[in-house]
């Protein structure tokens, strides 16, 4: 029997003990004493969420292809085990070897959403590693942060030794080589960090000092170590069809959120929606070739035994060979009991055809994400979806037999007024009318329209990075107003409205554009017992309010404030390819209700062309203008 870090008594006392035993199908087994580098890769949330993340699977596969590296996994212990580990002083361990994380060379966090910040501290704490980077000793692991939240790493800068900005495929090998060399030569932790800081994409927060103005804005952001770069460039993988992809993903025992094969068809997005950070920081659009995708889809299904495959990307309808790919998957694997799980597609004849082939029309629903209720506001956010397209798509789907529709909107978008909010109710009603205009024999009972609104959070590296986030009071007022307007509609009985709570969103708003001072509040909130903040049953808003108040952190300053172009933003030292000048230009276009062309139709000169590939070159003959 493989040894386990936890005793039977502990494992039998906690919920879903199989989260902690490792040994899943396709887990990589190596002799830890025969490698140079032990890497613990952590998704700081519960196992079922973390195991569903494709990025970790890609890096796990890539790292373990190196003979000198053993990459293992760990996730946040659930609250029941968290309590037992603290009581019994058991150090947190990695799943593969079940060895304590504190003995590893690296502890890497993938940071996918702001509300996991306290779980990073939980994992460090349970691992018996100092929470603050400055307190770590020579023998402690190097703590790395990566993932989307690192495009503003400052709120957690004090806890992380180095951030990796960009796509994992790009420079991890170089980082490992430098580490190995430094270790062999008896180099110190500081010497390694200095060498690492010379690689593009690597940001060592300790090598920079921040000073502040009296109005609390940033006065200066300067490096204090000559090894550090003035600007840290995001690193990318440009050849998407000739790179790492895990053909033998791990198959968990416990049912996880993504219990299926995930096929990333492309990276980046052409759309340029102004609220969307992913649409900017993953530019340029890079497609994987059809042959590559067909090949890895087959291998992954064979090696996992999964009965479902889903396509992943920011906007799958924009993949140039989507029809060929989807029909191939249906023809090749559909007969072998494999379900094809479709992403949200733009509703057109093709989408309705494949949906009718792979889903039960009676149960499935159509999804539209207009995001805003009027054309005016959709132009402000550059969401290229018109009312006509939505109504036509809905009508075609109703004729095809569907009678469930989901509509996603945001409240609190820049320039939003009450007419825009009312537009949401009107649009929902118009969709219902499309249904009831059909002859009775074509209808199947009542139409179900589910409207949901979330609370817009302005993010770094978007044209709205300078915009004020709506205050909680205004947001709640708009939400109540919309509820009232929906209740006034002719087809109100066919419309259901649900909304996202304001409390986590406002905290997200503070973190998203926070600076290093916010870290103290995160530390205090954690110390007062906050973990699993993204889980409503564990989220404790009062503790957060206290932590913010104690550290003089206010929503007014960090979230609800418009910024000037001249203000130094906490993330200005990062170069994501898309330039600040473009973002400012696009922000000003948005205020004039002007849209910006998408990357497939033309080039808006955002700056991502600097990477020398992707759609910027594929469709324009490689000319840099």
């Amino acid at each position: 029997m493989n040894k386990l870090a936890l005793s039977d008594e502990i494992l039998l006392s906690v919920d879903k003990p199989a989260r902690y035993i490792g040994n899943e199908i396709n887990m990589v087994k190596k002799d830890p004493s025969k490698v140079d580098i032990r890497f613990a890769m952590c998704f700081p949330d519960v196992y079922e969420i973390g195991m569903s993340h494709l990025g970790i699977q890609i890096l796990y596969d890539m790292f373990n292809k190196r003979e000198d590296v053993y990459c293992e996994r760990l996730y946040s212990p659930w609250v029941d085990l968290d309590k037992l580990m603290r009581e019994k002083n058991i150090p947190l361990f990695a799943l593969e070897s079940q060895d304590p994380v504190k003995d590893f060379d690296f502890l890497g966090f993938t940071i996918q959403y702001e509300m996991c910040y306290t779980n990073i501290l939980q994992v460090l704490d349970l691992s018996h590693i100092s929470l603050f980077s400055k307190d770590r000793r020579e023998e402690d692991p190097i703590v790395i942060g990566g993932g989307p939240c690192t495009y503003n790493p400052e709120p957690i800068a004090d806890f992380i030794d180095l951030f990796y900005l960009g796509e994992g495929e790009a420079v991890y090998n170089e980082l490992f080589d430098i580490y190995k060399e430094n270790k062999k030569n008896g180099g110190t932790r500081l010497e390694f960090l200095e060498k690492a800081a010379s690689i593009d994409g690597i940001y060592v927060p300790a090598f920079y000092d921040v000073t502040y103005n009296e109005d609390k804005t940033i006065k200066s952001f300067t490096k204090n170590n000559p090894a550090a770069k003035d600007k840290v460039k995001r690193v990318v993988e440009m050849d998407m069809s000739n790179t790492y992809y895990p053909t033998k993903p791990i198959v968990p025992y416990v049912q996880v959120t993504q219990d299926r094969v995930v096929l990333e068809i492309q990276r980046g997005c052409i759309r340029g929606c102004r609220f969307c950070q992913a649409g900017i920081v993953y530019r340029p659009l890079r497609e994987r070739s059809l042959d590559f995708l067909k090949d890895i889809a087959g291998q992954m299904l064979k090696n996992t035994g999964h009965e479902e495959i889903s396509l992943s990307s920011l906007s799958s309808s924009d993949y140039s060979q989507l029809q060929e790919l989807v029909y191939y998957l249906i023809d090749e694997f559909g007969s072998k009991g494999v379900n094809i799980s479709l992403p949200s597609l733009r509703i057109d004849a093709f989408a309705l055809d494949v949906m009718s082939k792979v889903q039960d029309i009676k149960k499935s629903s159509l999804t539209f994400a207009p995001e805003a209720g009027t054309q005016r506001l959709r132009d402000v956010i550059n969401k290229g979806l018109t009312e006509e397209e939505i109504l036509n798509g809905a009508r075609d789907a109703f004729i095809g037999g569907w009678n469930k529709v989901k509509l996603y909107f945001m409240l609190g978008l820049p320039t939003e007024n009450f007419d825009d909010v009312e537009g949401i109710a009107n649009l929902a009603d118009k969709i219902a009318r499309e249904y009831y205009d059909l002859p009775k024999e074509n209808r199947k009972g009542r139409v179900n329209i589910n409207v949901s609104t979330s609370y817009f959070v302005p993010k770094p590296f978007t044209p709205f990075q300078w915009s004020a986030m709506e205050t909680v009071d205004n947001y709640l007022e708009k939400q109540r107003f919309l509820k009232g307007k929906i209740d006034e509609q002719l087809n109100r009985k066919s419309i259901r409205y649900s909304w996202h709570d304001a409390e986590t969103s406002i905290i997200e708003g503070i973190f998203a554009r926070g600076d290093r001072r916010v870290g103290k509040a995160i530390y205090d909130a954690y110390k007062s017992g906050c973990i699993y903040d993204s889980w409503s049953e564990h989220f404790d808003f009062d503790k957060w309010l206290k932590a913010f108040a104690d550290n003089d952190i206010s929503a007014e300053f960090y979230a609800n404030r418009d910024r000037d172009f001249d203000e130094i933003l906490p993330w200005d030292f990062i170069d994501v390819g898309v330039t600040k000048e473009f973002l400012w230009r696009d922000y000003n276009r948005s205020l004039k209700e002007k849209t910006t062309i998408n990357c497939a139709a033309g080039c808006a000169n955002c700056g991502a062309k600097v990477f020398g590939g992707g759609i910027c070159f594929d469709r324009q003959g490689g000319q840099v203008q």
Binding site: M1, N2, L4, D8, E9, L11, L12, K16, P17, A18, Y20, I21, G22, N23, E24, I25, V251, Y253, V254, Q255, D259, K302, N303, T304, G305, H306, E307, G337, N339, V358, Q359, D360, K363
Partner: protein, 244 residues
């Protein structure tokens, strides 16, 4: 055709729950390229029935499931093929093509064998004390307990449902390091009468006047049986030998 598969569940796989195990086999059989028969509909799934759910924390060398196939190869070839697609602590030990019209494993199950051991490091009776007290426990005219269900409580006699007991001496513990062999129990199992070893141990502890701590005991299921006896006479045979 319906195939009955016997398998082990040992080591850390004892922490894998029943529904997760079912999903595990669905995927393992697909990896092994079994010619599975699927249910109809938009979410087709293979037809698999596990004979008797094993509680989380228990190990076993005598688990069974029935699976419906369109076709298959020789049993020995099939066993190898499936095991190549399995985790090292869940493995197939037998593969039987059931005759047409056989009842499924869940329907025929009548009894189960368990070996109970003590985990080291916990307070318990000495082995001799245990044996004396267990004999006294079993030699009562009846062992009345209150069985609680979701709906009601009812009194029942455990004694006729304990088919057999035997103290263990040299039970092979190769996969259970640090465990002290205690007792073998054969218990009624299935839809008609079903008792778990935990219930017997808990009732015994109450009889012996000691507090019941479930972590003291490590339970290993050895075999599952069907009853081919005529009338009231019991004739138990392992689930993979019922048609010989």
């Amino acid at each position: 055709m319906i195939v009955r598969i016997k398998f082990t569940k040992t080591g850390s796989s004892k922490f894998v729950g029943h529904l997760d195990l079912l999903r595990y086999f669905q995927k393992a059989f697909r990896r092994a390229k079994l010619d599975l028969t699927y249910s109809q509909g938009f979410n087709p799934h293979p037809l698999i029935t596990i004979a008797a759910p094993l509680g989380v924390g228990l190990t076993s060398e005598g688990e069974y499931l029935d699976v419906t196939l369109n076709s298959c190869d020789e049993p020995a070839i099939m066993i190898d093929r499936i095991n190549e697609a399995m985790a090292n602590n869940i493995s197939v030990t037998d593969f039987i093509i059931l005759p047409e019209g056989s009842k499924n494993a869940m329907a025929v199950i009548a009894a189960a064998d368990y070996n109970i051991s003590l985990r080291e490091g916990y307070d318990f009776l000495s082995i001799n004390d245990f044996r004396d007290k267990f004999r006294d426990f079993y030699n009562q005219d009846s062992i009345m307990i209150i069985k609680k269900t979701k709906k009601s409580e009812k009194e029942m006699d455990l004694k006729p449902l304990i088919y057999k007991y035997e103290f263990l001496d040299n039970y092979d513990l190769s996969q259970n390091d640090g465990y002290i062999p205690l007792i073998h129990l054969q218990l009624a199992t299935g839809s008609a009468n079903n008792i778990k070893p935990e219930l017997v141990l808990e009732t015994f502890c109450e009889f012996a006047g000691i507090s019941y701590n479930p972590f003291v005991f490590a339970t290993h299921r050895v075999e599952l049986y069907g009853d081919i006896g005529k009338g009231k006479e019991r004739d138990l045979v392992p689930l993979n030998k019922m048609n010989n």
